[in-house]
């Protein structure tokens, strides 16, 4: 086996160890999951009360609510996941042991993605009950997975930058909007089409755009965090 494949196997193992650590810590305390579920459930219930039934363009509005709520949920989850490593400075040890910043970034994206997916499963069922939305088209699962990847990537990038610089967490919610607006518009459009007509022919272009954004966020995030950690040294 050559050194390149050794290095790749080592990186995959490290990614797995970092992810396992994050999830184990989170499932032990459940703090981030519970806070996020309560936060999102509260917003969904409030909208249900405020939202008059039978209003025109109901599906469109709900699709917007879904993704905006998940975007802000992802901010909470990202901050929680990053603080696990910065609270007692164990991140310094992780980096001192020569863990690649790209691997660290990807592990955080996967942690946030997993937690966010759990939150989504809970909240989607709430949307189904409260708004009688039709989520029977299984393509919605693909849309949720793809959009979660992008949202997780962008909030992890902003989360690392803000936590490491002791920036106020509130600034995240301001920064995240311009970055994610074009991306979320695609997700909203796709969700709206799926809940309304269920026809996937109309959404292919938006789906491709979401995939393209996912790749851009993942690659640029890995590069940006690498440069940031180097500069911070």
């Amino acid at each position: 086996m050559n050194s390149n494949s050794d290095s790749i196997i080592r990186d995959i193992k490290t990614l797995f160890f970092l992810l396992k650590k994050d999830l184990k810590l989170e499932f032990r305390s459940l703090s981030t999951i519970l806070i996020t579920i309560v936060f999102t459930a509260l917003i969904v219930v409030l909208f249900n009360i405020a939202f008059p039934f039978g209003v025109a363009q109901k599906n469109e509005i709900i699709s917007i609510i879904i993704w905006v709520v998940f975007l802000f949920s992802s901010l909470i989850v990202s901050s929680g996941m990053i603080e696990l490593d910065t609270k007692d400075n164990s991140l310094e040890l992780i980096l001192m042991y020569g863990i690649k910043s790209e691997i660290y970034f990807l592990s955080k994206v996967l942690s946030v993605f997993t937690i966010l997916s759990i939150v989504q499963l809970t909240i989607f069922s709430l949307f189904y009950v409260l708004f009688q939305l039709n989520f029977q088209n299984s393509v919605i699962i693909l849309v949720a997975i793809l959009t979660n990847i992008g949202i997780s990537s962008i909030t992890v990038i902003l989360g690392i930058l803000s936590v490491r610089n002791n920036l106020n967490q509130n600034i995240l919610s301001i920064l995240v909007i311009p970055f994610t607006l074009p991306y979320l518009l695609g997700a909203v459009e796709v969700t709206n089409q799926l809940t309304e007509s269920g026809n996937i022919n109309y959404i292919l272009n938006s789906l491709y755009a979401i995939v393209a954004f996912d790749l851009i966020f993942l690659i640029s995030g890995a590069l940006l965090i690498g440069v940031y950690f180097k500069l911070e040294k």
Binding site: R10, K13, T14, F17, L18, K21, K24, L25, R28, S29, L84, K87, D88, N89, S90, E92, L93, I94, L95, M96, Y97, G98, I99, K233
Partner: protein, 198 residues
């Protein structure tokens, strides 16, 4: 083993220290002393490779394994001591030698609390748990930042005797503290950071 030349560091335009030079040979302890804010932690982090110096260089005569014990315990509070040790051994790739682990656990008096969460330990126990994490990796050079801070006299004595044993077994150590009396009693050389501040 390690030679530092002309190290300097500034933060936001303020020079913390400049012109630092030192050698650490095998089986030697270098004590780094100085007042609060003199740059002890910064210097140790530079040696550990956690941060870069503005000028100068650190040369290692041979390929060595080093490890760092920071001000904070650098352990996950919701993990037990064992879980922390396992995690750091997994990501750093070092293999735990069970005999060495037993020996260090006994020396630090941690055998009965390995399953306890870090958040449930006393300050002294947390410090020892961090020391265990560091020693199990079996480094050639140990970099210890303020290991005696907030320790009672018994724990301090047991730390000093561990450091002496490590030196006898061929380890090199760089240790910082603002308690010159304690560091002076165990070090072969002293580096006073106050002499390099501007």
């Amino acid at each position: 083993m390690i030679k530092a030349n002309n190290l300097s560091k500034s933060y936001n335009g303020n020079r913390i220290f400049s012109g630092i030079e030192f050698n650490v040979e095998k089986s030697r302890i270098l004590g780094v002393v100085g007042n609060n804010g003199s740059g002890k932690t910064t210097l140790l982090k530079i040696v550990a490779g956690i941060i870069n110096s503005d000028t100068g260089s650190i040369n290692f005569k041979e390929k060595i394994k080093l490890d760092f014990l920071g001000h904070e315990n650098m352990l996950y509070q919701n993990f037990s001591i064992s879980e922390n040790i396992n995690f750091f051994s997994e990501i750093s790739g070092f293999k735990i030698c069970p005999e060495l682990q037993d020996e260090i656990e006994k020396a630090l008096g941690l055998q009965n609390i390995l399953g306890k969460k870090i958040s449930d330990l006393s300050y002294g126990q947390r410090k020892k748990a961090s020391m265990l994490r560091l020693l199990i990796s079996d480094p050639d050079l140990l970099i210890l930042d303020e290991p005696f801070s907030n320790l009672d006299s018994d724990s301090t004595d047991s730390f000093i005797s561990i450091l002496k044993t490590l030196r006898e077994s061929g380890k090199s150590i760089i240790i910082s503290s603002n308690r010159k009396d304690i560091v002076g009693s165990v070090s072969d050389n002293l580096l006073n950071m106050d002499d390099y501040n501007e």
